[in-house]
Symmetry: C2
């Protein structure tokens, strides 16, 4: 086992956790931090710590006055206290033999010289004690394989249940985006594995977490929200060493963004050109927005890879098929003619108003017989001129959509060609009914999105990844 895996174990798989600053007041993060941990059903021991509440119960757990009072070994300590207090408690943690700590508080290097000094102290403590320290100025670590979540979420209010563990991990130099990624993957059903908000990275950097995730068997895709990479050479080496899909959203590209990144996490963001070169060299796929970061991660979590760039579009919506065609071409994909044989078979299956060229447009006639979609999908998947498929079923007739989702999962399994489903309607329009659809697709490992432009980007990312895997496997 690699050193990094052993070193990070107390952070991702702690046997016991102390929550310093735990509170019984819902206006405090220390309340939500504890509640969230309990909601996610963490199985290890949990010790609230708060001098004001020593001896009392907080959310049903006995509260201690100090980490030193806890009558048990503590693997991991969460610090829900201000910057100065965090440093003091960290020293106590050192004495106690705590192996890892997460510092949530801001007020360190991102706010000026005084904070910089405190961050130096923090680093000194890490060196002296060997503790793994995440933060400061972060929201910590979620590991759905250990029931661990420090994001202080009120799941019940959001109408959510704790998500099942999935295969997508995220390293984020932003707490909110870490949290929102977790929520998005929970609602859309392609679940997360580990999500780490690294904050100011006083000790543990994005690169170190990356090294861990590359080794992690429960991580199939590594997504990153990056403001600045602090140890670039090692970062590039690591990226080149893995065939796991890497997908990144870079912020701080512009002058205004760089300046904002400096006040956010004290990050010195490099130029966009440099970053683009890093991505090319290291084999990182770039996302252009937060939602795209999630969508491309979902696509790349699919076990299938295309053999070429030829896309078939099967739609019931002519306009959306036109948009999909444009988007494919703009992404460097082709929407080629189908074989004579395929066209002939489609003519037999589909009504006269349908278009049997590529894109195949079944039109609204689909409401008469949903099997037309299944059969058309079979034809294009069997076509030797086709490497992958965009399937666009009707959005507003959910029973049809479900039946088509099952057909898409079947076809994708049978023919091993990547299929992305898009239904041309933002998910918020009918989120309750879409839930059943997304469950079918996500269990069948079929990526999906709502608009055809996104589907084209997802397929394009899959193709890029297929090429990167070949290149990296050759070690070049």
């Amino acid at each position: 086992m690699k050193d990094v895996v052993e070193k990070m174990r107390p952070l991702f798989y702690p046997r016991s956790v102390a929550i310093v600053g735990a509170s019984d007041s819902p206006t405090k993060f220390g309340f939500w931090r504890l509640k969230c941990l309990l909601d996610f059903d963490y199985k290890g021991a949990v010790y609230p710590v708060n001098p004001r509440l020593a001896g009392k119960e907080v959310l049903g757990l006995k509260c201690y006055g100090s980490v030193l009072d806890i009558p048990d070994e503590v693997d991991l300590a969460y610090m829900d206290v201000d910057a100065r207090t965090a440093l003091n408690v960290l020293r106590e943690c050192g004495k106690k033999g705590v192996k890892a700590a997460v510092i949530f508080a801001g007020g360190f290097s991102e706010v000026g010289d005084e904070g910089k000094k405190m961050e130096d102290e923090l680093r000194a403590i890490a060196r002296e004690t060997g503790m793994v320290i995440v933060g400061p100025n972060c929201i910590g670590v979620t590991n759905l394989y250990a029931g661990l979540c420090t994001f202080a979420l009120d799941l019940k209010r959001l109408g959510l249940r704790p998500p099942r563990p999935g295969k997508i991990s995220l390293i984020a130099q932003s707490g909110t985006l870490a949290q929102n990624f977790l929520l998005l993957s929970t609602v859309r059903g392609f679940y997360s594995s580990k999500i780490v908000s690294t904050g100011n990275e006083a000790v543990t950097t994005l690169t170190e977490v990356l090294e861990y995730l590359i080794e992690d068997p429960d991580t199939r895709v590594i997504a990153m929200y990056v403001e600045a990479v602090r140890n670039g050479k090692k970062f590039i080496e690591l990226c080149k060493s893995t065939t796991k899909p890497l997908v990144a959203l870079k912020a701080g590209r512009s002058e205004a963004g760089k300046s904002a990144a400096r006040s956010h996490t004290a990050a010195i963001a490099g130029s966009a050109d440099v970053w683009n070169a890093v991505c090319r060299q290291a084999g990182i796929i770039q996302a252009n927005s937060f939602e795209e970061l999630y969508e491309l991660s979902m696509a790349l979590a699919s076990p299938l890879r295309p053999k070429g760039n030829r896309v078939a579009i099967v739609s019931v919506m002519g306009g959306a098929a036109v948009i999909a065609s444009d988007a494919c071409e703009e992404q460097g994909l082709r929407v080629p003619r189908l074989t004579e044989e395929s066209v002939k078979r489609l003519r037999e299956i589909l009504p006269p108003v349908a278009s049997v060229t590529n894109p195949v447009d079944i039109t609204g006639s689909i409401i008469r017989d949903v099997n037309m979609f299944r059969e058309a999908l079979e034809v294009v998947c069997q076509d030797p001129c086709i490497d992958m498929v965009i399937a666009m079923p009707p959005a507003v007739r959910v029973p049809l959509l479900m039946s088509i989702s099952r057909a898409v999962v079947d076809a994708s399994r049978r023919y091993g060609k990547p299929i992305v489903m898009a239904w041309a309607l933002p998910f918020d329009v009918n989120v309750q009914e879409f839930k059943e659809v997304t469950r079918i697709l996500s269990e069948g490992e079929v990526p999906y999105c709502y608009m055809p432009e996104k589907a084209a980007k997802m397929l394009s990312a899959l193709l890029t990844q297929a090429m990167l895997e070949k290149r990296k496997a050759k070690g070049s």
Copy 2:
């Protein structure tokens, strides 16, 4: 009153409607067409027509065997029958003196020579009778000011109520996108006015509908989904003649897309370069995706216009503020320093961990006192260096989000500077709770979106529109 308004009246404000092909079977569009009209609470007379059901009741209404049997004047006829039958019934409509008709069926010029002939017949009937004909190969017309909707939606299943009328109108050369635009504007709460799916445009073209919407007092923004403009010169003249915001999504930009457009609505899409030139000349703002078409329409529906390109960002999320800064700069907007005075006031209001430069990052401290957001907003709105604002409240604490929404509406009214709100979390994550938030914003005419990139595009569109309005007012 302009001729076009009088001519189009039977289409948008009919006193009576015949639904030819009305059905009592939910597997038929003729059922949903009728049901949808009743659900939207159309106040005029409705006459189902279907020879098979003559004398019976369909959805509680007496059904007639032919339009000729209806004992009343008929302003508008909907044709839920196949292409050939539609032509026959259209001739009967001519005899009956029907003033307008919508042909839903496909199978006309988009499928080949036989269809082209039928479309010629259709045009001949229009010439002979003077009927206003929409379609074929379309889903018709929605006018929320008349309770009119032909989109055959099952609103109840979608958990929706018929939307209130709003100020955004859409002309779409795609039925699905017309329908989905209505749904999106219903769910997001910045409601629609009139939505027209023009299909093959055998008779009534996009340009003619545009002429009507320019005159329509209930249309503040005109959105368009365009595959091809059939009478370009008139189109450009009309666009130049109006100061109403025009926003368009062009499909059929690529070779694959052009070919798809041909099979979709028989449209001959021109090159992307030509279209870009048309937009510049005519003063049309371009959207890059369907969702963006809606989002920019929402922004442009705001009555406020910025005086310059200087944006203040007020956020509780550092990462999202960095993304917003990048996005502003990439959209040609500036994120300038605030005045010394503003910085001083922000320092007094906000905690030490906050960033008081632009972007202003209140950080998670917001949960201690939501008034900090209101006060920070006041400061940046009063700053003479600031023309508009992106407000980014916390997404997962909805009570805070609501209180901040009210503050944003107040500030926007008081200072007359455009504010766009973005909460960095896709709407589908918490659609129920967001509903109350979007109601507050939409009633306050404050545009919103979920990600900061979108907010920057929305502000940029507002600035472009402000400049277009000046240019057009000068008549240049």
